[in-house]
Symmetry: C2
Subunit: 342 residues, 2 copies
DNA sequence: GTGAAAGCGCTAACAT
DNA sequence: ATGTTAGCGCTTTCAC
């Protein structure tokens, strides 16, 4: 039906309409005051007839605004990421931005490469779920005058706008809940910390409640989620180290939860009779395991939304204000995996 | 440490280095044969000193190559999507492309908007996990000479390159397995078909085995996964309709599986004693439900990879060849949810 | 109400 | 080995 043999430009439209390209440009930018009603209609028809679409590359070059926001995700296969990305893309659409996305694969080298590549693309801002290994590098990026918003994972001291969840408080609350429930030993299972602010915060909170409320030594187990056998050993260790106690495992994130649940399943243990468990990240399937897995539900979608809103604020502000931390509330979903028969 | 008060360009570098901008351009493009070793070193130093990064917008405008690939995802919150996206981004990185991503939210209107927006951005190709409602529109896009690759969801008749999994055969195989296992009734649970090729194919295969192997009437249940109550009713119906039979539920995708499992869980039924179940999409947590959920594992990561490879082929080919279907194999993961006591 | 012309930052003939 | 020049497609003064 429609055809266009070769790239058609504003000039083609202008010729066909018998006006100058200035007028076409004005039309494209909605400045209809500067043309007659006839011209306007004519141009409209011709654009449709030629199936013309303005070249944003050229527009962007002129205006120095690409309409692009760069999003760097530490590990996009983490289910957390897709919810975050959904929040970001949904909100960007509202503001008329497009999203360039990159997957770091937990590799700080890739993170650096991508950041530079995004700058080359002249993205107007960067939303970063950081691998945690590029703090210095990120600071340098500031010299490119590109706003950076950290998603979920803070960097200390606070140099950038950060949108995160109240992990510290949520951990404290969960630990207190466990203490009230009658648990006497809590094992903290986590992936390696790797400078990731979120994990570190959760550990701090865990330690605090251990010493101040439970009056026990922290018991921390660092797992390698790819090593099934290793995870199983750690679970065994935890149980062996705490005979006669009321034990519960606290996992620092969803990946760890999945690994530990796998180990428990292979070991044939019954939740919560043999071992209770709870942890960060809440997913629909958690309702389906036994009588449900107690979990901290994190508002990742909203984190995405808030990141974009802050980004827009930064892009529009005239004089640079100081970085801000936006903290969103987590919610503890209590299910059967931490309910003791009383 | 490094500073740049204002946007610095190739001209600034040229001035500082005492050469013409052509030479800088050559340097940026690695054409070192065209300059002395000294110039090369000088330029290198100055670029670092000024913290200069070439403006890709300008480069792209010149070369008419944005280095961008557009990716349209029907529903990015579907776990399937994040694996697909990971495949795509990983592979794009290898070929030096960046990825612009958009979430359709299963909305065909948004799909159209985004496609146009991507064309405006001059993406070099489009990878589309389509909502299934824009077949005509997609055809028109061809007039923009932009290669389109369909990811996972085919459109019939075949007008575009498509990378998908062998759903038809996998469904037939699974159905045959169920028949062999001793099941006499298979209920097919799915979300509305909505023109989505994948779902339609699975239904066809289901029907074929019903009539040719099991010699039963197909029993299809269309669920609304948001309506918990409704799902539960359908499961009850299925059981009520088939008293005295050996029943199994076959779910057409992961979302349906989750809904149906939720209903079964709330109804207090035991898998597989009261009801057996299996279906499309395999996720780690499926090992953890009872004695495991039998599922068809789909190679979504590889689908992503193949989409990009095909895209690269299209971008580079001189004369347009006809569309091709690339079919990747699924794998049936047999677990306890379909094992009958014998 | 409309147009001519300069220029965004870069690339690529075509010189020399 | 290096520079001059003419654009890429669009926006935006400034002039009529």
């Amino acid at each position: 039906m429609k055809k266009d043999k070769t790239k058609i430009t504003i000039v083609d439209v202008a010729k066909r309409a018998g006006v100058s390209k200035t007028t076409i440009s004005r039309y494209l930018n909605g400045k209809f005051e500067f043309m007659s009603g006839e011209s306007q209609q004519r141009i409209k028809d011709i654009i449709e007839e030629l199936n013309f679409r303005p070249n944003n590359l050229a527009r962007s070059l002129k205006s120095n605004k690409s309409g692009l926001i760069g999003v760097l995700i530490a590990d996009i296969s983490n289910p957390f990421s897709s919810v975050l990305v959904k929040g970001i893309t949904d909100c960007c659409k509202e503001y008329g931005y497009n999203v360039v996305i990159a997957n770091m694969d937990n590799d700080s080298e890739k993170e650096r490469e991508y950041i530079l590549s995004m700058i080359d693309q002249r993205v107007e801002g960067l939303i970063v779920n950081t691998t945690g290994e590029n703090n210095e590098f990120l600071k340098d990026i500031d010299s490119h005058h590109i706003p950076i918003i950290l998603a979920d994972r803070p960097i200390f001291p606070t140099l950038f706008d950060t949108v995160r969840t109240n992990d510290y408080q949520a951990t404290v609350d969960t630990m207190n809940y466990l203490a009230n429930e009658g648990f006497t030993r809590v094992g903290f299972f986590t992936e390696p910390f790797n400078n990731i602010g979120t994990r570190t915060l959760r550990r701090q909170a865990y330690r605090q409640v251990c010493s101040e409320v439970l009056h026990i030594e922290p018991q921390e187990y660092i797992i390698d989620s790819k090593d099934e056998c290793g995870v199983q050993n750690l679970v065994e260790n935890f149980l062996a180290n705490n005979p006669g106690q009321v034990n519960v495992i606290f996992t620092a994130n969803g990946v760890t939860m999945l690994s530990v649940l796998g180990a428990i399943h292979r070991m044939g243990l019954c939740i919560p009779r043999d071992i209770a468990i709870c942890g960060f990240d809440n997913w629909p399937w958690m309702e389906l395991i036994g009588s449900g897995i107690t979990a901290v539900s994190q508002p990742f979608y909203d984190v995405g939304i808030e990141c974009v809103k802050r980004m827009i604020f930064r892009v529009q502000e005239k004089t640079k204000s100081s970085p801000e931390i936006i903290e969103l509330p987590n919610q503890l979903m209590i299910r059967g995996s931490t309910k003791l028969d009383k």
